[in-house]
Each structure stands twice: as C-alpha cells, then as structure tokens.
Symmetry: C2
Subunit: 351 residues, 2 copies
C-alpha cells in the first residue's frame, strides 16, 4: 500500500504575511509539483479576506496568480489556492505552515483545534517571543500546545523578495527531538538548488535567533548612527550573537550553541538584519535625529511597531523579573538607550 501523499496548507493572514513569504509560497507550489510522489498538487492558503479595488483578495489571487500591489512581477504558482476560511484551508492538511502575525495565533488555533488530520504537523515562521507572567515562550511551542500537533520552526537569512526572485538563499528548520524524518517533509517542501534548507534538532534555538537578532540590529543601528565604523559594528554583532546564545541556553532546554554561530537562522540572518532592515534603519535615525522610537515608527513605518525595540523591552522585562539583566549587558544597554534615555554613546560602556 502506497503511503498517503502530504497535503500542504499555508496559514497566512492578509497581504503583509503573503508579501513576507511569497518566496516560500512559490517554493511550496514548485516543490509540491516537482515531488508529486510525496505531495498533493494543490496547496491551500488561508488569506484574511479583504477588498482590493472592490474585489475580494482571495479571488484576485486565484484569478491572476499574482499580487501586483505588494510584489509586482512575481507570479504565484497556479496550484496555490487562496481561501478565506482557515478551517477549509487546513482540512486534511498534513503539513501546516504558520505565517500569522502573533496576535492572531490563539484564535486561529482555536478554530483549527479538533479539525485537523491525525497526521498533521506544523511549522512556524513567526518571529518574536511571548513574554507573560515571568515566563517566556516561543510561538512554535504556543502553536504545538494550542493545536496538539508537533510544531517545528523555520528561520533564516531569506529576505522575501530575493527568494521570490530566485536569488541564492538559505534557511534553517529547527525540529523536535526524534522527529528528523518528519521534518524532512518540510525540507522537501522548501529546498531547491537556489534555496538551501538546513536542518537542526533545535526548535527553541531557531525560533530565538529569529526573535533576538532584532535586538542586536537596534544596537548595530545605534552604532551606524554614532558613526563608529565597521570595527565597532562587527564587535556589537559578535557580542550580540553570544548574548543571544547564552540567553537561549539559560532559559530553554536542549538549545544547541551552533544554531547561533553556524546556521542561516543564526549568524547569517544576524548579518542581513544588521546591514539591511528596518530595525537597523530606525535605530540609526534615532541617534541622528534624537526623535523617540514611537515618532520614528509613525514617520518611517506608518505606525507599525518595530520588532527590535519591542523584543528588547519584553526580554529585558523578563530578565529583570528573573534578576538576570546584568548578565546581558548588551541587551540591557540597547534597552536603556531605546527606552530610558541613556546616551547612545554609552553603547559599549558596560560590555
């Protein structure tokens, strides 16, 4: 008897998420066709319905197989079908790809719970950490707990529009203990000659890389704003990756140091984030203009919250509750510059 084919569902939400992962959507569409022995051809994609020029977004996607407004000239594969119902998208799916903004996770999981295939597994591309009541969680754990299905994590130096344009990129999948074979299905779903997927048994490490790197990017931006040059910025990045690693090892179990120092999710993504990206840019502007971050968010990001300052605040609040803030002088200094009026030039004073 042949094994049942894998059915893929992308649990996205709205244009923003689609723009962020259009490259990965393309790869899923491409690979489900390429590996037709493993995957069902059709990939369902949950899309939060909205009107674009009077038309339903899902209908535009299914008719035009593109998203001119957000990523012009990038075609979506025809086998990726948008649907406004998350239950419909996830029905019978064995591979669930989560790319929601984190505030929607719990409600979406509530809608899905009990309606999933018994063989379903999930993967999270959601950045950030969930800090509450003196506890810190990664979203792969939040999803796994809420759905009752195993959840891996994917993160890496894979800026969406470069992936969508088939420029060479890498990413990292962190899988759970003993589940390498199952994680290889996600490898097969995303890996192509120009998009190399690495696997490592470390869900927490991969997730935390994606979250904590944004704090370091704020520090790198301060450095740029101060005009301190390449040596200082490289030093901030080096110290940053070590604080990220130490934090993960102190507060999560079974974290691998090499996730931070050797994978695409770790050092490579830190590099792209500290040289490109909105966190670095806003932090540079913070030093140069003297404007507070909420003003810069309004001016430069249409009011969207910056992930780096937000994560710095959450992580430092957590470290303060655990009386461990002094163990992370770079996190602490970045937080104090961003929120407590510390002079940016004090960036390295406590290192």
């Amino acid at each position: 008897m042949a094994t049942q084919k894998q059915k893929v569902a992308i649990i996205g939400s709205g244009n923003c998420a689609i723009a962020k992962i259009i490259g990965l959507i393309n790869l899923s569409g491409f690979n489900t066709v390429r590996h037709s022995d493993v995957f069902e051809r059709r990939v369902d994609m949950y899309v939060y319905e909205e009107k674009v020029d009077g038309q339903n977004l899902t209908e535009i996607i299914n008719k035009e197989h593109t998203n001119q407004k957000y990523l012009p000239n990038v075609a979506l594969p025809e086998n990726v079908v948008a649907t406004p119902s998350v239950e419909e998208a996830a029905k019978d799916a064995t591979l669930l790809v989560f790319v929601l903004p984190h505030q929607f996770i719990l409600n979406i999981c509530k809608a899905l719970k009990g309606n999933l295939s018994p063989n379903a597994q999930a993967i999270s591309m959601i950045k950030g950490v969930d800090v509450r009541e003196g506890k810190i969680s990664i979203f792969a754990d939040v999803i796994q707990e809420a759905l009752g299905v195993p959840c891996s994590a994917l993160s890496g130096a894979n800026i969406a529009n470069e992936v969508a344009r088939d420029k060479f990129s890498e990413t990292t999948i962190g899988y759970r203990h003993g589940r390498r074979k199952q994680a290889e299905l996600f490898f097969k779903l995303f890996d192509t000659p120009n998009f190399r997927v690495g696997l490592i048994e470390d869900v927490a490490g991969v997730s935390l890389c994606g979250a904590l790197k944004n704090i370091i990017a704020i520090g790198a931006g301060f450095c740029d704003g101060l005009g301190w040059g390449d040596n200082a910025k490289a030093a901030i990045m080096r110290i940053g990756i070590l604080e990220m690693k130490n934090f993960a090892q102190e507060f999560f179990v079974d974290v691998k140091p090499e996730t931070f120092t050797e994978t695409s999710a770790g050092i490579a993504d830190l590099i792209t984030t500290c040289f490109g990206g909105r966190n670095r840019k806003c932090a540079e502007a913070f030093v140069k203009t003297g404007k507070p971050f909420n003003v810069l968010e309004a001016e430069l990001l249409n009011g969207q919250k910056l992930q780096g300052t937000e994560t710095a605040r959450e992580v430092c609040q957590f470290l303060t509750e655990r009386k461990r803030l002094d163990g992370y002088p770079l996190f602490k200094t970045i937080y104090r510059i961003a929120y407590e009026g510390l002079e940016p030039s004090k960036l390295t004073a406590e290192l």
Copy 2:
C-alpha cells in the same frame, strides 16, 4: 626583589606597516605609560629607513611624532622611538611585536637570532600563510622557529585608522598551550576601554582567521558584483567561516572551533572584511568589468597583490597536493572563478 620591567620593541617595516598598525603603536605607547609598573616607558620601533621629502623617515617620526603622509592628524606617542636598526630596536626587548610584510621575516629573524633577551617572547600580526613543498605554515610558527622564542598571534576586526581614532574595537590574541600568563603581558600592552583584547589558547586558529577570511571576502565581492543581494552574501559568509574552521581543524593541531565562530579574529573580522576592504572591492569589479585581477591590481591597487586571490591560490594548490580540494567547495569555486575562467554565476553551484 621586584620583577624586571617589560621592554617593548615593534618590528615594523616602512610606512605601509606603520599605517596599518598605527592604532596599535598608539595603544602600546599609551599603555606602557599607563602601566609603568609593568613596562619600560620607552618603546623602540624598527622602521625601514627611507627618505621622505629629503629627510630620513625615522627622524621625521622622532621629531614630529606623527606621519602626516600616511595618517594625517593622528599623533604618535612621544615614548615610541623609531630606529633604522632592527638589532638596536630589539636589544633587551622582552616583548617583540612583528608587523613585517612576510617576505622580510626570515632575513629580519636572521639578524635578530642570538641577539635577544633570554626572556623575550614575540607576537605576530602578519597575515597570510606560508605554503611550500606540500606544507602549510602560519607566520607565528615561522618566527618562533627562526628566533627560538615563543610567538603568539594577534588578529581581529581592528581597521587601523578607526583604532587610531579611538573608535570602539576588539581584537584577539592567540597564545600557545600553557602560556596564558605570558600572553597577558601582550593583553596589558594593547587593551584599553575602547580597544578590547580577547585571549584564546589557539595561535593557529587566530592566524588562519586572518589569512583565510580574505578568500571569503573575494567570494563576497563576487556576490556583490553579481547583484545577488544580502541573503546570498550572508550565506557565502556563513559557509565561508565553516570552511575556514574545517580547514584549520584538518591541517593544524589543537585548533578551537570557537576561534572562528565567536572571536573578533573570526566572525567579526570576516564581517568587516566582507563589507569593507580591498578584496571585496576588487572582486566586485572583477565581475562587473570582466577585467582579470592583475589588471585590477594595477588599476586599483598601484600594482600591489591582492591578499585574497593570492591566499586562495596558495591554499587551493596545497589542497590539490593533498587531494582534498573537493572537501572545500567554496575555496575551490572562488579560486576557479579568479584563476580558471569559471563563470562567476557558478559561485554557489557546488556548495
């Protein structure tokens, strides 16, 4: 009985070397005065004599305490004394700082051999590797063997003019097994609040970081020339640091992996070299203009040899002799693009 004070000699050679380490010369001058309990005040510096505007270079340095021609507006400390005689400079010195171009090492060591203090130790800041007759050596070993005194290595993300201008930087000293206490004298000679020195028991690792990073910078420059974007460049750097580490562990003893992934000599210097620096720049021009490297060296570097292509050639020649070239696909591909006409767009094909 008080311990004898340490006497420092800088074994430089000509303007080029001085320009490269003027920051370190300043730090030595500053720290010998600051730690007057440990160091003799006077630091002797061997300078290859030449005429500048009709005057002897050593006399200009000793009179004006500056080097307007090479690093304007950076003062040299008054306690650093230039001398055209290397034997004179090294006489009674207990700490010898080597910053010669590598082709001069053997002759200089010959002049010094037998004329050194019995307590002398050396540190090498010389980049590159010595490949001959199927053997590969680091210059710290060449110096140690030629002089018969222990030799450490210093390397890191410390671009000279930023250090000289007291911007925040870090560096790494690799010391020999069991010699941490002695290496701490070099730590004390260079470390300041804005120039942080790390110590690691790994002379080979620190030396090889300084040499092999230049190969990766050529790859990063190809990437820039191809317009492949940030993901691809970060991937090249990530794969690069792993090939550097693997090479060191395969062909040298007692190399520590974290020298590559966690120190200033390793990942931090790789970052500065892949974003700034002449290797990256010339490699980008190689792809964009189609001109061979010897033409670009003539046009962009006044005919000076590029270290990255030179090291790629030496390392790949060594790997070929050892029948191990295929174990290092990034080194190999960079070499083949630079010297054998391989299409730059094949950069990632064998990774």
